[in-house]
């Protein structure tokens, strides 16, 4: 894992003291809320429905046991004993007091964490593949590149006041586990003739105008990647609209310019940027990359696993994925208990996951955009002990990628932007499909719920998506089908009129039962939908 050097630590420490002074002045009435608001947002502090909310950055979703423990400590000491893992691989605290915030940021800084780039019109926390460094299919570890982009983007003077927020994802596998093409910039590391480079996709996003990023560069040499990304940002910063927040994202610019013209302008700008020498020297790249060296795997350990405990075997089949290193596996910890709140974990659960990472997982954890946690490097011989510990803590939910593994934004239960509640709908759907045999029969099904058009719950990318809207003061839920955030990225289509809270649960069940009726062997819900089309499902849902 990356470790701060003196510059990183000095920057973060200075930021804490700067914010401490700003909070002091705000509480003393020396600055108004209008003056203070942009300052607190630059430190991840929002004002939500019930209280201040602090969003903590977890760069590319990677953290150590010590960092995870600190998240648990803060939840216990300053919040209400839990935290919420988000679709941006971050963590949010929902009950923060303004007067405590400087101390919380100081605690975070003590373990090389912060809340910078979690708000505002800047380059946000970089996201990545939660299996980075462990997946057999990656061409390189994407994290050194994500870290390079993090260092480049933090407090970048040119890109701190962009027309709108800007999200970047970096992956290195053909299998996309990070919804890469639904980012403002999606980077897929690839190798051509042995040379490392990247496909660069620009102009994707969800929100009120969902778009899949077109490919702007089919191959940018790794040595040029930072310059190319800077060129992409510069063209956006120059021409992105600042007069209308709804048209200010880069996806709108590219849609209006056309991908070809945007590509041409980026090429011109890239030629200029290359003369500035911003790409890091090889030694710096090697310094960063060294932090992401593979852990000290034991060689020659067994791949055998005792599957005699049937509950363990179910979890093994559903939540444990292949690792590139013989004898090791990737463990997914689902934060989606039936009837629970997607992405929430108590302080004790957070501590336990930290402990398991330290004891069994080379001290490393990942947060996924699906609001789950990953232990990326676990010896197979330790899987049963891990499962037992998780099971005792209510964390052994064997439902990864099944219908109850639902992404849901905080919705109207917490969020001041929301129009409808998301969590109760997720809970009811999970309860409807609580039977694990039924879930496993249905198979992979990505169900995603947003409480407003901003789409933090990624409903556009759900095989089944649900969007909560306000219909004359009453919560109403639109159903979309056919979305995907994977390598076969697609935007779901609204299937018909909306439903009330109970009606949407019934509608989801009717859609799933239709799938079971018409699927062919091996077909996922999404495959069947794409094969038979919307009308078949529409007929089943609306009768």
């Amino acid at each position: 894992m990356y470790q701060y050097d003196q510059y990183d630590q000095a920057i973060v420490d200075a930021r804490v003291e700067e914010f401490r002074d700003q909070v002091k002045r705000r509480l003393a009435g020396e600055i108004t809320e209008d003056q203070f608001k942009p300052l607190r947002l630059m430190n991840g502090l929002y004002l939500q429905l019930h209280a201040y909310m602090l969003r903590v950055a977890i760069p590319y979703g990677t953290l150590s046991g010590k960092q995870m423990r600190m998240l648990g400590h803060i939840a216990r000491k300053y919040d209400r004993d839990y935290g919420h893992f988000t679709t941006r691989q971050n963590l949010q605290y929902n009950w923060i007091k303004l007067e405590d915030t400087p101390d919380i940021l100081a605690d975070l800084a003590s373990v090389e964490m912060h809340a910078i780039q979690t708000s505002g019109n800047c380059i946000r926390n970089i996201s990545s593949d939660q299996y980075a460094g462990a997946a057999a299919d990656e061409v390189a570890d994407p994290r050194p590149w994500a870290e390079l982009l993090r260092q480049w983007s933090t407090f970048h003077p040119e890109f701190s006041y962009l027309p709108r927020k800007f999200k970047i994802a970096v992956i290195a596998s053909e299998e996309d586990r990070a919804a890469m093409r639904l980012h403002d910039i999606g980077i897929e590391l690839v190798r051509r003739d042995g040379v490392l480079g990247a496909r660069v996709f620009v102009g994707g996003g969800m929100g009120r105008t969902p778009m899949i990023a077109p490919e702007i560069a089919e191959f940018v040499k790794a040595d040029d990647l930072l310059s190319y990304v800077e060129a992409c940002l510069r063209v956006y910063n120059r021409y992105g609209r600042r007069d209308n927040a709804y048209k200010a994202r880069i996806k709108i610019l590219i849609h209006e310019l056309g991908a070809d013209e945007y590509r041409r302008q980026v090429a011109d700008e890239f030629a200029h940027v290359k003369t500035l020498g911003i790409d890091p020297p090889l030694a710096e790249l090697e310094r960063i990359t060294a932090y992401f060296a593979p852990p000290a795997y034991e060689q020659g350990i067994s791949d055998d696993i005792d599957r005699s405990d049937p509950d363990f075997a179910l979890w093994l089949d559903q939540n444990v994925k292949a690792h590139k290193q013989p004898g090791y596996a990737i463990v997914n910890i689902s934060l989606k208990p039936i009837g629970g709140i997607p992405g929430d974990a108590t302080s004790d659960q957070i501590d336990l996951m930290a402990e398991l990472a330290e004891k069994y997982g080379f001290d490393e954890l990942r947060v996924t955009h699906a609001q789950n946690i990953v232990l990326p490097h676990v010896a197979k011989r330790d899987l049963y002990a891990i499962w037992q510990a998780l099971d005792a803590a209510g964390l052994a939910n064997a439902n990864l990628d099944l219908v109850s593994d639902i992404i849901a934004c905080p919705g109207l239960d917490y969020c001041s932007l929301a129009n409808a509640r998301s969590i109760p709908v997720a809970q009811k759907i999970a309860e409807r499909f609580a039977d694990l045999d039924r879930q496993r029969d249905i198979g992979e099904l990505k169900l995603k719920i947003s409480g407003c058009i901003n789409a933090c719950g990624h409903h556009h990318a759900g095989h089944i998506g649900i969007l909560g809207v306000d219909k004359k003061g009453i919560e109403n839920y639109q159903l979309t089908l056919g979305g995907s955030g994977a390598e076969d990225t697609s935007i779901g289509k609204i299937i018909g009129p909306g439903f009330d809270e109970d009606g949407i649960v019934d509608a989801v069940e009717r859609a799933i039962e239709k799938y079971r009726e018409v699927r062919t062997p091996g077909e996922r819900f999404l495959d069947t939908y794409r094969r038979v089309g919307a009308d078949v499902f529409k007929g089943a849902i609306y009768g």
């Binding site: 509480l27 429905l49 019930h50 109207l412 509640r421 109760p424 809970q427």
Partner: protein
């Protein structure tokens, strides 16, 4: 009926204007009739409340109850964590 709500500057707690100060209990809110702008201006200037605004409300056995679902959720606390709200008995859906 109009009542005024906002968030406490220091703690972020949802608070309601009582005519003399602020309360965490929506039922202690008073009808400000047409004085909402005055209350919001003076209280915001006093740096006690953040993001104050006026909401429509109706009489209820527990005092004035906001009409809109968003404000009822603010009054109640998260509907999915009744243990965290201070007024969890608020009916979220009007009627």
């Amino acid at each position: 009926m109009k009542i005024v709500t906002g968030n406490d500057l220091k703690t972020g707690d949802v608070i309601w204007w009582t005519g003399k100060g602020w309360s965490r209990h929506y039922g202690e809110a008073v009808d400000v009739v047409d004085a909402a702008d005055t209350v919001i201006a003076s209280e915001s200037a006093a740096q006690r409340v953040n993001a104050a605004y006026a909401v429509d409300a109706e009489a209820s056995p527990n005092g004035p109850l906001p009409l809109h679902i968003k404000d009822r959720v603010r009054a109640a606390g998260p509907t999915v964590r009744a243990d965290l709200g201070i007024n969890p008995a608020v009916p979220i859906v009007k009627g």
